[in-house]
Amino acid sequence: MERSARNLIIIIVILAAALLLQSTLLERAAIKGVKPDIVLIILVFVSLRKGSMAGQLSGFISGIIEDLLSLAPLGFHAFSRTLIGFLYGLFEGNIFLDPVFMPLIVVAAATLIKAILSSLVVLLFSISTSGYGSWGVRLFIEVGYNALLSPFLFALLGLIRAFKPRDKDKM
């Protein structure tokens, strides 16, 4: 199997494991009912390191898995995660990822982009949700929670071989 394909499978397995964690154990770490979106943090890291192709593919597949575990209609999370994967992939190699500040900024921005895209789909398809409630406190808790976790997760993910930048293995 080609190295890039093998790496993509590893990334998807990690994203699927993160999703299962989010639906089970991370429920205990929720602040006011809001849990962190570690899948989004991993997706941002993958896209910035591996480019648009890996970003959009892992975003789409992890989104579909999330849709299966959720009340959301199939394609709901796949839509936003595919676009985020693609958009962040465009910045591959152009953003210097320092250990603290850049992860905070890119992940906070990704959470807001996710909220915009999700709200757009909710409006377009008249989907009933109990979530952000007109961009209330819950969204800003999630933005802060994800941003605070990002430096730690980015440092951890940097140790995994499959997440190494593309110049070492072309995708």
């Binding site: 999703l19 299962l20 964690l21 989010q22 639906s23 089970t24 154990l25 429920e27 205990r28 929720a30 009912g33 809001v34 849990k35 979106d37 899948v39 480019g51 648009s52 192709m53 959009q56 593919l57 789409f60 989104g63 898995i65 999330e66 849709d67 299966l68 575990l69 959720s70 009340l71 959301a72 209609p73 199939l74 394609g75 709901f76 999370h77 796949a78 839509f79 595919t82 676009l83 693609f86 992939g89 999700s118 789909v121 909710v122 398809f125 989907i127 009933s128 949700t129 109990s130 979530g131 952000y132 409630g133 007109s134 209330g136 406190v137 819950r138 999630e142």
Partner: protein
């Protein structure tokens, strides 16, 4: 190679991104329950195995970690319990009389037939992975006799409270739509003043319920803290199950009915075990 093929080859990333976005949108468009129930059920059956495993491992680690501090706490509680035992011995004499009285009252009020349904106990193994939706996943599925539409209750604070209803069933797990979801509607009644209404989840946030379409006449009769129960109308939820207590009464001059804010009986953040009612429907 044709011109189109050349363009596709050149803009491979963009073409794939557009295709994936289109597929996502088409999936949302055709995601009405009847069309997607099969792939969702198959996916859930597969993923629930992992959810159950992770949930159990997490509980085991958590339990072991807590056991040391638990021992210390138990020692203190033992002293307190001994003191209380002496008090309860006195109370137990009165209890026999109260039990007899209670049995008579139950007979009079015909409460003995209050829940004539089979109850299937289940454990909460997961919740929605995101923050936008609010489902609960339980560890019983079609192999345990669960079916879509079955009501789900929980025992908390000495009361049986309505938790939601089963909306999707896979082989080993089921998805429950909690009553605080905006898509959930329950035909309800105020227990004392007997006015009817419709309880639904609030879009303002988790854990809030709104009771609508209550007659304005009820304004002077409804009490803060009054219990709200299911009325049994519509046939989805059985009659008489506690839903919550009145927390706020809103009477707007331009509306024909009252709007009540209800605090649910069930504390969903601490929900661990539920009972699925087999109403035979």
């Amino acid at each position: 190679m044709t011109r189109v093929q050349k363009i596709i080859q050149k803009r491979k990333v963009g073409v794939i991104c557009t295709s994936l976005v289109l597929v996502s949108l088409l999936l949302i468009l055709f995601s009405s329950r009847s069309l997607t129930i099969r792939p969702k059920e198959i996916g859930q059956s597969f993923l629930s195995v992992f959810q159950i495993s992770i949930s159990r491992i997490g509980s085991w680690i958590g339990d072991s970690w807590n056991s040391i501090s638990e021992l210390r706490r138990l020692q203190q509680e033992l002293g307190l319990a001994r003191q209380r035992l002496a008090e309860y011995e006195g109370l137990s004499r009165d209890l026999v009389e109260l039990r007899q009285e209670n049995a008579q009252l139950k007979e009079q009020l015909d409460f003995s037939r209050a829940l004539p349904f089979k109850q299937i106990p289940a454990e909460v193994i997961g919740k929605d992975p995101g923050n936008l939706f609010s489902t609960i996943v339980i560890n019983k599925g079609s192999s345990n006799g669960l079916m879509r539409g079955m009501p789900v209750v929980a025992f908390q604070r000495g009361l049986q409270g309505l938790a939601g209803k089963v909306i999707e069933v896979s082989l080993f797990s089921a998805t429950v739509l909690p009553i605080f979801d905006p898509a959930s509607y329950v035909a309800a009644r105020l227990q004392d003043s007997r006015y009817d209404g419709l309880v639904s989840g609030s879009r303002l946030g988790q854990g809030r319920l709104t009771m609508q379409y209550v007659k304005k006449l009820a304004k002077n009769e409804v009490q803060y803290g009054e219990l709200v129960i299911s009325s049994g109308m519509g046939g989805v939820f059985p009659k008489g199950i506690h839903i919550g207590r009145v927390r706020e009464i809103r009477a707007r001059s331009y509306e024909a009915s009252l709007e009540l804010e209800i605090e649910p009986i069930v504390d969903f953040s601490r929900l661990e075990y539920v009972f699925v009612l087999d109403t035979g429907g």
